[in-house]
C-alpha cells in the first residue's frame, strides 16, 4: 500500500511539474498540433531540475523540500510570465479527448512498469551500483556539484543531470532512495511512452489536417485515426524488442538447421538446436543476448571480446539500469518535438521561430530571447543528460530548421549558431568540471556489420520503414529528383570511406600512434590490410553499408523533391525523412569510424548510435504505417499491414517472454526468507544475501548524518565492492577502479588509492594507518565480511585501540575517527 502511494506521489509530482510549465510549453511549442501537451511533464522536470541545479551550483539551494519548492516557485513564475495561461487552459478544455488519452497512457505505462519493476527490483549487477551510488551521493550531499561517491575529494565527472532529476523527485516525495530508483525507471518509461505518442500524433495530425477524427468510406480506415496511428509509436519504440526474441523461441523449439544458426552467428544460438515442446527459452539470462546480436570477428576468425552493444529501449528498462542513455529518453523525444517545432516554424508563415519578423532583408533579425533560451535549454540539456545525444539532436534540430525554411539565409545560420552557443552556455558549470572519456576518432577497418545481424536488430523497424519508402517512391515516382539524393547518399558513403582510409593511413604512418595501431589493425600488416579490407567489406559483408546508402539516397531524393513542391510547409514528410536519414547516418558511421575511448573498440559507439537510431526509426515506422494504411489502396494497405503485423508480433515475442522471464512469471524475483517478495525496494534482497551489511547500511542511512569519507574494501567492477558508498552515498576512497579510469581518462587522480586501502586494513602500525586516513580525510572505517575476507585479521586490532566503535552487529563493525 505504501508503495502504491509512492507511485501516486510520483505521478502527482510529475504531473504538477508539467502543469507548472504548461502555459510556457503551450506557447513555445505552439505550432504543434498538441501544443506540446504530451511532453509538458518532461519540460517541467527539465526546467525544475535545471533551476535547482544552477542555483545549487551557485550555492543558493540545497536538496531539501524547501530548496525544491523554490525551484517549483521560480518555474511557476517563469511559466506564468512567459506563457499563455488562459489560452492554455482553454485548449485543455477544447481538447479533452486528447488530454484524457495522454493522461491515461501515462498512468498505465507508469503503473505497468512500476508493477513489472516491483517483481524484479534488485539494485544489483551491471551498472546499477554506479547509478545508485550517484543518486545517493546527490541525496546525501544536497549541493552541486555532487561528490563522486567512488573517489572521495572529487566531484562526479559524468553526465549526472538525470540523477539530479530523479533525486529531486525522490527527496520531495519522501520515498527512500531504493524505492526512488525503481520508481525512476517507471517514470522514465511513462514519460517516454507519452512523448513518443505525442510526437507521432503531431506528425500524423499535421499530415492529416485539423480533423481529429478520420472517417473513410471503407470502415477499416476508421482505425487509422491519428490516435490509433500514434499509439503504434510507443508500441514499436518502447514495447517491442528486436527479432532476437523470435530467434530464441525458434531455437528453443528446435526449428531451423544447424547451418542456418551457424550462418546467423549470434552467440548462444549459433549451433543446431534440439527439438523441444517449450516456447519459453530456458537458457539463463537468454534475454540478455538481444543486446549483443551483432558479433564482430577478428581477422583470424575469433570473436572479438568487446562485442558491440545493440541495446534498445525495452532491453534497457528490462535490465533496470538507470543509465544516462535511458534517463535521457524522455528528453530526447522532447528534443525531437523541438526540432519539429523549428521545422514547422511560425504559424503566420513569416519568419522563423527564433527570429521575429525581419523588417527588411537588410536588417538583422531580432531574436525571441524566450524561445532561444527555451530551445537552448532543451537541446543543451541533452549534453548534461547523455552527452552523446547532444550532437545528434543538434543536427536534427538544425537541419530540420533549415529544411523548414523556404530560403536559407545568413540569418538562419546565425540563429543556429546562437542556439548552439546558448545551449552550451546554459550548462557551462557542467562543462567546467567534466572530463570526457572520448579522445578522438578511430577507423573501423575490419568489422563491418553483417546484414543478417543488422536486420535481426532493426528488422522490426526497417520492414515498415522500407515498405513505406517503397510505397512513397512508387506513388510519387514521377517527380522524384534522384540526382540530389544520389549525390548526398553516395557522397556520404564516400566521405566516410575517405575518412576511414585517411585515419588508417595516418595511424600507419605516424610512429607516435603505434600504440593505437594494434587496437585498430591487430596483427595485420600494412600490406595485407588492404586485401583483408576488400575481402571483408566488399566480398563478405558489404550489404549493410549498401542497404543504408540506398536508404540514404531514397530519403534524400524524396525529401528534396517534396520540399521543392508547393505547400512544403504543410508537409512533415521531409522532417520524417530527416529522422530516417539521421538514423541511417547513425548506423552507417560505426561501419567506418568509431569514437576512441578506454575500450578501444566500436562497442560503445555502436551502442550509443544504434540506440538513437532505434528511437528515430520507431517514429518513422509508426508514421509510415499510418501513412500507408490511410493513403494506400486497400490491397496494398492490407498486404503491408499484414507484413508489419507479423514483424511486430515477432518483436513483441521478445517483450512478452523476457518480461515473464525476468519477473519469474510475475511471482517476484526477490527471495527473502524463502518467500518471493514483491516490492519496489531495490535493497530488499540484501536481507537475504547479506543481512549484516543490510542492517549496517540501514543504520548509516538513518543515523550517520555527518558526512565523511568511509573506507571499505576495494575490488573489481560489477561486483559487491564499494557497496557501502553505493547504498549510503558516503564517499569512499576508491570504488570501482575501472569506472574511474573511464571517467577520468587515466590513473592520475586515483593511482595509488587501492594499495593505500589495502595498507590501511592490513598494517598493524597505527601511525601508517593514521597517515593514510589523514591523506584521504577518512572519517569512518567499515569492517564487514568482505573486508575480513580480503584483508588479514591482525590489521583490525588497531581500529579497536585507536578509533571509536559506533556500530556493531554479527559481522560488521563501523569505526569513527576521533
Amino acid at each position: 500500500m505504501v508503495e502504491i502511494l509512492a507511485c501516486l506521489y510520483w505521478w502527482a509530482i510529475a504531473t504538477f511539474c508539467g502543469l507548472l510549465v504548461w502555459p510556457l510549453t503551450f506557447r513555445m511549442l505552439g505550432n504543434l498540433h498538441d501544443r506540446g501537451y504530451a511532453v509538458c511533464r518532461a519540460v517541467g522536470l527539465l526546467l525544475v531540475g535545471y533551476t535547482f541545479w544552477i542555483l545549487s551550483s551557485l550555492g543558493y539551494l540545497k536538496l531539501t523540500s524547501t530548496g525544491i519548492l523554490v525551484a517549483f516557485g521560480i518555474c511557476a513564475i517563469v511559466g506564468w510570465r512567459f506563457g499563455e495561461t488562459s489560452d492554455a487552459l482553454i485548449w485543455i478544455r477544447e481538447n479533452r479527448r486528447y488530454v484524457l488519452i495522454t493522461e491515461m497512457l501515462f498512468v498505465v505505462t507508469l503503473g505497468f512498469w512500476a508493477y513489472v519493476r516491483s517483481h524484479n527490483p534488485d539494485i544489483f549487477g551491471t551498472e546499477k551500483p554506479m547509478e545508485f551510488a550517484f543518486m545517493n551521493s546527490i541525496l546525501r550531499n544536497g549541493t552541486m556539484p555532487p561528490e563522486d561517491p567512488w573517489l572521495s575529494g572529487y566531484a562526479i565527472s559524468y553526465y549526472y543531470f538525470g540523477y539530479v532529476i530523479i533525486a529531486l523527485i525522490t527527496s520531495f516525495s519522501g520515498v527512500t532512495s531504493p524505492v526512488g530508483f525503481n520508481l525512476g525507471l517507471a517514470l522514465v518509461f511513462g514519460l517516454t511512452a507519452v512523448g513518443i505518442f505525442g510526437l507521432s500524433y503531431n506528425l500524423i495530425s499535421r499530415t492529416f489536417g485539423n480533423q481529429s477524427r478520420c472517417f473513410h468510406k471503407n470502415s477499416a480506415r476508421t482505425m487509422t485515426s491519428p490516435f490509433v496511428g500514434a499509439i503504434v509509436a510507443p508500441v514499436i519504440g518502447l514495447f517491442s524488442g528486436n527479432l532476437n526474441g523470435l530467434l530464441e523461441v525458434l531455437h528453443q523449439r528446435g526449428l531451423g538447421t544447424g547451418e542456418f544458426w551457424r550462418w546467423l552467428d549470434i552467440k548462444w544460438i549459433d549451433y543446431a538446436p534440439s527439438l523441444s515442446d517449450l516456447w519459453m527459452p530456458e537458457r539463463y539470462l537468454w534475454w540478455w543476448q538481444a543486446s549483443r546480436v551483432v558479433r564482430d570477428r577478428n581477422v583470424d576468425g575469433s570473436v572479438m571480446v568487446l562485442e558491440p552493444i545493440t541495446e534498445f529501449p525495452l532491453f534497457s528498462f528490462l535490465l533496470g539500469d538507470l543509465h544516462p542513455h535511458l534517463l535521457a529518453l524522455p528528453f530526447v523525444v522532447l528534443a525531437i518535438h523541438v526540432a519539429l517545432q523549428l521545422y514547422v516554424g511560425n504559424k503566420k508563415g513569416a519568419s522563423d521561430v527564433i527570429e521575429r519578423d525581419a523588417i527588411s532583408k537588410n536588417s538583422l533579425p531580432t531574436i525571441d530571447i524566450a524561445r532561444l533560451l527555451f530551445f537552448g535549454l532543451i537541446i543543451g540539456g541533452l549534453s548534461f543528460l547523455n552527452t552523446w545525444d547532444y550532437p545528434i539532436y543538434l543536427f536534427v534540430s538544425s537541419v530540420g530548421y533549415l529544411l523548414g525554411r523556404k530560403k536559407v539565409g545568413l540569418g538562419h545560420l546565425i540563429s543556429i549558431g546562437m542556439l548552439i552557443v546558448v545551449s552550451i552556455l546554459l550548462y557551462w558549470p557542467f562543462y567546467i568540471g567534466f572530463q570526457s572519456q572520448a579522445a578522438g576518432v578511430l577507423p573501423n577497418v575490419f568489422y563491418p556489420t553483417r546484414i543478417a545481424q543488422f536486420m535481426v536488430m532493426f528488422g522490426v523497424l526497417l520492414v515498415p520503414v522500407v515498405g513505406w519508402l517503397i510505397w512513397e517512391t512508387a506513388k510519387y515516382k514521377d517527380w522524384v529528383k534522384w540526382r540530389v539524393g544520389v549525390y548526398l547518399g553516395v557522397g556520404t558513403l564516400m566521405f566516410l570511406i575517405l575518412v576511414s582510409v585517411a585515419l588508417s593511413m595516418l595511424i600507419f604512418t605516424q610512429t607516435e600512434l603505434e600504440g593505437i595501431k594494434f587496437s585498430v589493425f591487430g596483427a595485420v600488416a600494412r600490406e595485407a590490410a588492404m586485401s583483408e579490407v576488400i575481402k571483408r567489406r566488399v566480398i563478405e559483408s558489404p550489404w549493410t553499408s549498401v542497404f543504408l546508402t540506398a536508404i540514404l539516397v531514397v530519403c534524400a531524393s524524396l525529401a528534396i523533391s517534396i520540399i521543392n513542391k508547393s505547400r512544403v510547409r504543410s508537409s512533415v514528410r521531409p522532417f520524417v525523412l530527416l529522422l530516417l536519414f539521421t538514423g541511417c547516418l547513425l548506423t552507417l558511421v560505426p561501419e567506418f569510424v568509431f569514437l576512441r575511448d578506454s575500450f578501444g573498440a566500436r562497442m560503445n559507439t555502436v551502442f550509443k548510435f544504434y540506440y538513437q537510431a532505434w528511437i528515430l526509426w520507431s517514429i518513422v515506422a509508426s508514421y509510415g504505417i499510418w501513412r500507408v494504411s490511410y493513403y494506400g489502396k486497400l490491397g496494398v494497405a492490407m498486404l503491408y499491414g499484414t507484413i508489419v503485423c507479423v514483424v511486430l508480433f515477432s518483436g513483441l515475442m521478445y517483450s512478452v517472454f523476457s518480461v515473464w522471464s525476468k519477473t519469474q512469471g510475475f511471482t517476484g524475483a526477490t527471495m527473502i526468507g524463502g518467500n518471493r517478495v514483491v516490492t519496489l525496494d531495490g535493497t530488499a534482497y540484501l536481507q537475504q544475501t547479506n543481512k549484516s551489511d543490510y542492517d549496517a547500511i540501514r543504520w548509516i542511512n538513518h543515523f550517520l548524518y555527518e558526512d565523511g569519507v568511509i573506507a571499505e574494501a576495494v575490488g573489481g567492477s560489477y561486483s559487491e565492492y564499494a557497496r557501502i558508498s553505493t547504498y549510503t552515498g558516503l564517499a569512499t576512497v576508491l570504488g570501482w577502479p575501472g569506472h574511474e579510469l573511464q571517467w577520468r581518462g587515466g590513473y592520475e587522480e586515483f593511482g595509488d588509492r587501492e594499495s593505500a586501502i589495502e595498507t590501511l586494513y592490513s598494517t598493524k602500525d597505527w601511525s601508517i594507518a593514521s597517515d593514510i586516513m589523514s591523506r584521504y580525510a577518512i572519517k569512518y572505517v567499515y569492517l564487514g565480511a568482505l573486508e575480513r575476507r580480503d584483508y588479514p585479521d591482525h590489521g583490525f586490532v588497531k581500529f579497536d585501540n585507536h578509533m571509536k566503535k559506533i556500530y556493531t552487529n554479527e559481522t560488521v563493525d563501523i569505526y569513527e575517527l576521533y
Binding site: L55, Y60, K62, T66, L69, V70, R81, D695, T808
Partner: protein, 595 residues
C-alpha cells in the same frame, strides 16, 4: 441631562453608517477625547511592548534569525551553517540594527518587532472608514493591551511584522475596491512581498488574501490586468529588492530557501508526528486571556439590533481560527491572533452600536447602578475562584467541584441581575450596561495579564510563548567564563573554549561574544583547551583528571529528536541519542595559572 453632551451622536436612526461618515470639527470635545484616548492607550501599548524587552531569553525560533544576523555582521563565513533561518525580513532588520548600534543582544534583536507591534496598535485608525471613531478607538485599546499581541510584539519571529504587512495589503485591497486601483494594487503587492519575506507567520495571511481575491473577481481581474499592462516592471523591482533582502546582499545564499521554507514547514505541520503542542493550546490562550471579550462579542452580536452579515462573517472567521488552532498539528502560540483579531473587530462594531445608544438621565443612573453591581459580582467572582489558577486547573482537567459550583452560582447571579434590570427598566439599557462593563473589565484584565507576562522574568505566565526562561545561572556562567578568560589570556573574551556536543544555537548565541569557541562531538581530548563545556548529563564524556568542573543549571532546554528502534539502539555504540544542554558543566584545568 443627556449623556450625549459633548459627544457627537447623531439623533436620527440611520444607524451605524452615519456615525461612520461623521467628519470632525475643531471645536469638538470629542476630538480631545479621542486624542487623549489614543495617547493614553498608545503609551500603554508602547510601554507593554518595550518594558523589559530583553528579560526573557531568545527562543529557539528567535535564535535562528538572530544568530545568523550576528554571524553576518561579524563577517563570519556561513559555509558551516546547517540550519535555515525562518524569517528573512527579521534577520535582515536585525543585521541592520546590529550593524548600526554595534550591539547584539535580546533587546536589539527584538526592537524592530516591538516597533512593528507598536505601529500595529495605531492601525485601526487607518480603517476608520469601516470602524468609525468609536470602533477605531475600541480596537486601538484592545490592540494596545491584548496579552497575545503584546507577546507577539516581544517575540522576534516575524509575526508582528507579518501583521503590519497584512494591514498594508488589506488597506491596498480597500483602496483598490474604492476605485484607486493602481494605488491599491501597489499596496497589495508591497504587503505581499514584504509579508512573504516574514516567513512562517505570513502563510495564513497569504491564504486569506488569496481567498479575498478569489471572492472578489473584479479586483482579481484588475490585479492581473495591472500587472500585465505594466509588463511586470514594478514586480521586477520588488523581486530584486526582495532578493537583496533575503540573501542579505548575497551574503546568505540560502536566503532563497528561507522564502520557501515556511510553506514546506506549514505543509509538514499537518502531519501529526510534528505536533509539539496540545490541541487545546489556542482555546486555552483565548479563553484565558480574553474571556470577557468573547462574551462581549457573542452576546453583543446576539442582541445587537444592527448586527450585519459582516459581524457574523467575522465571528465565523474567529471560529475558523479556533478550529485551525485545534486541528493543525504544527500550531504555534502566535496563531492565536487569527482568533482574537476577528473578535476584536466584532467587539469594536458592537461598541459602535453601544455608543449610538441614546440615554436619558434616568437611564444613565440605572445603567450605572447595574454596572456597579455587575462589576462587583465579577470582582467577587475573581476573588472567590482564584482567577487564573482556576482557569489553569480547569485546563489541566483538574476539576474542583466546589469551585465549579461557586462559578455557576456567580454566573446565575449575573444573569439574574441583568434579567431584573431588563425587566424592571429597559432591556436595551441593561444590555448596553453589560457591554460596557464587559469591555471595561476585559480591558483591565488584559492589562493585568499583559503586565504580568511582561514583568515575570521567570516566564511563569508566558509559558505558552516561551519554553525557556532565565534561572540567572546563564549570566553567572558567562561571568565565570569571562573571569577565566581574564585569568588565562588577560582578555575577557579570548579564552579557548571547546564545547563537547552537537552545535546548539541557543548556547552559541550565549557564547557569541567569545571569539575562540569550537564545537566538537569528539569526546576524546586530542588537544587540551583552557575551558571545556559539556552537557551536564552526558554519559559518553569522561573528563580528563586534570580538569575540574562546575555545574550551571541554565535556562536552556534543547533535545534532539531520535526515533531509534530498539534493535538499532542496541547496535549503536558511543552515539548519544540526544544531548541535553539545560545543565552545563564548565571544566577548567586544575592548578593552571598560565595555560
Amino acid at each position: 441631562m443627556s449623556f450625549t453632551n459633548g459627544l457627537e451622536i447623531e439623533k436620527d436612526d440611520a444607524g451605524i453608517k452615519n456615525a461612520l461618515w461623521r467628519t470632525y470639527s475643531r471645536d469638538d470635545i470629542g476630538i480631545w477625547f479621542d486624542v487623549c484616548w489614543w495617547l493614553v492607550f498608545g503609551a500603554v501599548g508602547i510601554l507593554l511592548r518595550f518594558h523589559k524587552l530583553g528579560s526573557l531569553p531568545l527562543s529557539d525560533i528567535e535564535v535562528e534569525n538572530a544568530l545568523l544576523a550576528w554571524l553576518i555582521v561579524g563577517g563570519q563565513e556561513l559555509v558551516d551553517i546547517n540550519w535555515l533561518a525562518n524569517s528573512a525580513l527579521v534577520y535582515f532588520t536585525q543585521i541592520i540594527i546590529f550593524w548600526v548600534t554595534d550591539v547584539a543582544n535580546s533587546i536589539s534583536a527584538r526592537v524592530v518587532t516591538a516597533l512593528c507591534g507598536s505601529v500595529l496598535v495605531f492601525t485601526p485608525f487607518l480603517f476608520g472608514r469601516h470602524l468609525g471613531r468609536v470602533g477605531a478607538c475600541v480596537m486601538m485599546a484592545l490592540f494596545a493591551v491584548s496579552p497575545s499581541l503584546v507577546m507577539i510584539s516581544r517575540t522576534a519571529d516575524g509575526m508582528a511584522i507579518s501583521l503590519v504587512c497584512l494591514v498594508i495589503a488589506l488597506l491596498g485591497i480597500e483602496r483598490a475596491n474604492n476605485l484607486k486601483v493602481r494605488h491599491g494594487i501597489g499596496m497589495v503587492v508591497i504587503g505581499l512581498v514584504l509579508g512573504i519575506m516574514c516567513g512562517r507567520s505570513f502563510v495564513i495571511p497569504v491564504l486569506f488574501i488569496m481567498f479575498i481575491l478569489f471572492r472578489n473577481t473584479y479586483l482579481t481581474k484588475q490585479v492581473f490586468e495591472t500587472l500585465r499592462t505594466s509588463n511586470f516592471n514594478g514586480v521586477l523591482a520588488y523581486v530584486l529588492i526582495g532578493l537583496l533582502v533575503v540573501t542579505s546582499f548575497f551574503r546568505y545564499r540560502y536566503g532563497f530557501m528561507v522564502l520557501a521554507e515556511p510553506w514546506n514547514h506549514w505543509v509538514l505541520g499537518w502531519s501529526s508526528y510534528s505536533s509539539m503542542h496540545s490541541e487545546l493550546m489556542i482555546p486555552e490562550m483565548v479563553f484565558l486571556n480574553q474571556p470577557l471579550l468573547i462574551l462581549l462579542a457573542v452576546v453583543g452580536l446576539f442582541i445587537s439590533q444592527n448586527a450585519r452579515s459582516i459581524e457574523r462573517n467575522l465571528l465565523v472567521l474567529a471560529i475558523c481560527g479556533l478550529l485551525y488552532g485545534i486541528v493543525y498539528s504544527g500550531v504555534q502560540s502566535r496563531d492565536v491572533v487569527w482568533v482574537i483579531i476577528p473578535l476584536y473587530v466584532v467587539c469594536a462594531r458592537v461598541m459602535i452600536w453601544v455608543s449610538q445608544s441614546q440615554w436619558s438621565g434616568h437611564e444613565l443612573i440605572v445603567a450605572t447602578v447595574e454596572g456597579i453591581i455587575l462589576g462587583s459580582l465579577i470582582v467577587f467572582g475573581y476573588i472567590v475562584v482564584g482567577g487564573q489558577e482556576f482557569a489553569l486547573r480547569t485546563a489541566d482537567y483538574g476539576f474542583d467541584r466546589n469551585t465549579i459550583i461557586q462559578v455557576l452560582v456567580l454566573v446565575g447571579m449575573l444573569v439574574l441581575v441583568v434579567a431584573l434590570f431588563s425587566a424592571g427598566w429597559s432591556a436595551r439599557v441593561s444590555m448596553v450596561s453589560v457591554m460596557i462593563i464587559l469591555f471595561v473589565f476585559s480591558t483591565v484584565w488584559s492589562i493585568h495579564r499583559s503586565w504580568t507576562m511582561v514583568e515575570a522574568t521567570n516566564g511563569a505566565h508566558a509559558n505558552n510563548w516561551h519554553k525557556t526562561w532565565n534561572t540567572g545561572s546563564d549570566k553567572l556562567m558567562l561571568k565565570t567564563l569571562g573571569n577565566l578568560s581574564l585569568r588565562y589570556v588577560g582578555h575577557p573574551r579570548e579564552v579557548d573554549i571547546k564545547v563537547m556536543g552537537p552545535f546548539n544555537r541557543q548556547l552559541a548565541w550565549s557564547l557569541r561574544d567569545f571569539n575562540n569557541v569550537k564545537w566538537s562531538e569528539n569526546p576524546a581530548l586530542v588537544s587540551y583547551p583552557s575551558v571545556i563545556l559539556t552537557p551536564g548529563l552526558s554519559e559518553s564524556i569522561i573528563m580528563d583528571s586534570r580538569y575540574m568542573g562546575q555545574e550551571f543549571q541554565l535556562y536552556h532546554d534543547y533535545y534532539a529528536h531520535s526515533n531509534i528502534v530498539a534493535k538499532d539502539k542496541r547496535n549503536s555504540k558511543s552515539r548519544p541519542s540526544g544531548t541535553n544542554f539545560d545543565t552545563i558543566v564548565v571544566w577548567t584545568r586544575q592548578g593552571d595559572t598560565n595555560p
